[in-house]
């Protein structure tokens, strides 16, 4: 009962809408194989942005004081990640059937990494705000598009296979996955992160007695 009502309250239009936009972008990459290496990273970035909206809770002032803890709430809401993951898997399947030559195992890892990164940033932002979707997706898009927008960065780090010079895509995503799992674990542990009251310099949420 609670699972159903929590899922129903999710930002489904945002999650499915952005995932749909990702399918359109990736679909163009499948239709024009020459552009696939440009459009698949854009599609995966959109899926990361979609994942960042899964924790949006407009009624957070009410929900956050209920006995249901952040761990349980986050676990239930994480089911919504199936939407971007399914959209990405669909794109990869369609690409493979169309005969696109990509390292699919590495692409699968990149998909998982993108989605988990979006979710992890949203988890951390959720400790500060009830609707972390917009700022978290903006941050994730900026991070993920940097190598595409700035070729000098792409020489150091690759976020989508096949990797260029510098850190390979697999290394990047395994590291990101590890960091994201730790970040999610800390953010749902129930301990409020320290926050600064605007204009006062006073930090609240930190135990000063210890």
């Amino acid at each position: 009962m609670m699972v159903r009502s929590m899922l129903r309250a999710g930002a489904w239009p945002a999650v499915t809408g952005v995932s749909g936009a990702a399918v359109v972008a990736g679909g163009c990459g499948i239709a024009f194989p020459a552009a696939a290496t440009e459009l698949f990273p854009i599609a995966f970035t959109l899926l990361a942005a979609a994942a960042a909206f899964t924790l949006d809770e407009p009624a957070s002032p009410v929900v956050d004081v209920t006995p249901t803890g952040p761990l349980q709430r986050t676990a239930i809401r994480s089911l919504a990640l199936l939407a971007p993951l399914a959209a990405g898997a669909l794109l990869m399947l369609a690409g493979a059937l169309r005969g696109l030559v990509l390292p699919w195992a590495a692409a699968g890892l990149a998909l998982a990494g993108n989605v988990v990164l979006g979710f992890a940033v949203a988890c951390v932002a959720r400790t500060r705000t009830g609707e972390p979707g917009a700022p978290a997706s903006a941050a994730v898009v900026l991070i993920l598009m940097t190598p595409t927008l700035l070729p000098p960065v792409a020489r150091w780090v690759s976020t989508f296979p096949p990797s260029g010079g510098g850190l390979s895509s697999n290394t990047v995503w395994w590291t990101v996955l590890a960091v994201c799992v730790a970040a999610v674990a800390v953010s749902v542990s129930g301990r409020p992160l320290p926050r600064r009251l605007p204009g006062t310099g006073i930090t609240i949420g930190r135990d000063l007695t210890s």
């Binding site: 239009p13 945002a14 809408g17 952005v18 936009a21 359109v24 972008a25 163009c28 024009f32 020459a34 552009a35 440009e38 459009l39 854009i42 970035t45 959109l46 942005a49 909206f53 609707e131 979707g133 917009a134 997706s137 903006a138 898009v141 598009m145 927008l149 700035l150 070729p151 000098p152």
Partner: protein, 289 residues
């Protein structure tokens, strides 16, 4: 001979004063927006960084002002427009109408436009017109290409952000649209790479707010694609006008709505004509040099 002069409407001067004050306030808010400041810094850095770029990198160098001043400028104006949404119950009862406030928001696009002009001058300083990398175009047409790639997108992106902010409630709309536009420019350009003489692929490449006009495979092989850079600027300006009119349509009623709708339909027809002319103008086929 006598001339009968109609007395000026007493509210007109007050409306103008209010509009100027609003426009100045919005411009100040926009100029200190962190997203816009980031875009300005990145544009300056990439222009400076590419000053000694090899010839084949100049084409990609033009890409950054569009991404930063246009794309990030769009996000900044989108958030600027949305920032007043929560205050609407209070602001909505003031005598200033929503179209007037939208018009004031649209004026902030002057700031990124001026940044685009400065970037164009810097780009021309580092890569003077007449260089071989600009293809077979005449020097004035080469400047037109750069204006279409650097200056006009810096104006159009922020205007699109205002229109989007007025009509779309989804907070991530500007991000999603910027990614989709980025992907679309890639898709639209790839056809011209394999079929440079195709009229259909030329039209597809120009059916976009940003377009490349040359392709450089290596230093010895520059391909100048079909299409008129001058008429493409006209198409881009028609897109800018469309964005402004769509933004003004929100909250317009009565006579203002009728005027905006009528002007919008005219602008759309002009835009379609300019797109066709831009695609059929220029060289009759791709020129290799």
């Amino acid at each position: 001979m006598t001339a009968a002069l109609a007395p000026a409407r007493p509210g007109a001067a007050a409306d103008r004063t209010t509009f100027v004050a609003l426009a100045a306030r919005e411009t100040r808010r926009f100029a200190v927006n962190p997203v816009f400041l980031f875009a300005v810094v990145m544009t300056a850095w990439t222009t400076w960084d590419y000053r000694k770029a090899p010839a084949n990198a100049v084409g990609t160098g033009n890409w950054y002002p569009w991404i930063f001043l246009g794309g990030f400028g769009m996000m900044a104006t989108f958030w600027l427009t949305r920032s007043m949404r929560d205050s609407e119950p209070v602001v909505g009862v003031t005598p200033t109408t929503l179209p007037a406030r939208t018009a004031a928001l649209c004026t902030v696009a002057i700031v990124p436009f001026l940044c685009g002009v400065l970037t164009l001058f810097a780009f021309l300083h580092f890569h003077p017109a007449g260089a071989r990398v600009y293809g077979a175009f005449s020097p004035p047409a080469q400047v037109a290409v750069l204006v279409g790639q650097i200056v006009i997108p810096s104006l159009g992106g922020p205007l699109l952000g205002v229109a989007l902010g007025r009509w779309v409630r989804f907070p991530g709309a500007a991000l999603v649209l910027s990614l989709i536009l980025f992907g679309w420019v890639n898709v639209a350009t790839f056809g011209s790479l394999s079929h440079p003489d195709s009229a259909a692929f030329t039209a597809l490449r120009l059916f976009s707010p940003f377009a490349f006009f040359t392709y450089m495979n290596n230093a010895a092989d520059v391909t100048t694609w079909r299409g008129s850079p001058w008429l493409f600027i006209g198409w881009q300006l028609a897109l800018c006008a469309t964005a402004v009119l769509v933004a003004l349509l929100r909250g317009a009623d009565g006579r203002v709505r009728f005027r905006v709708t009528r002007t919008l339909s005219i602008v759309l027809v002009v835009a379609a004509i300019l797109l066709v002319l831009a695609a059929t103008g220029g060289f009759p086929h791709a020129v290799h040099a």
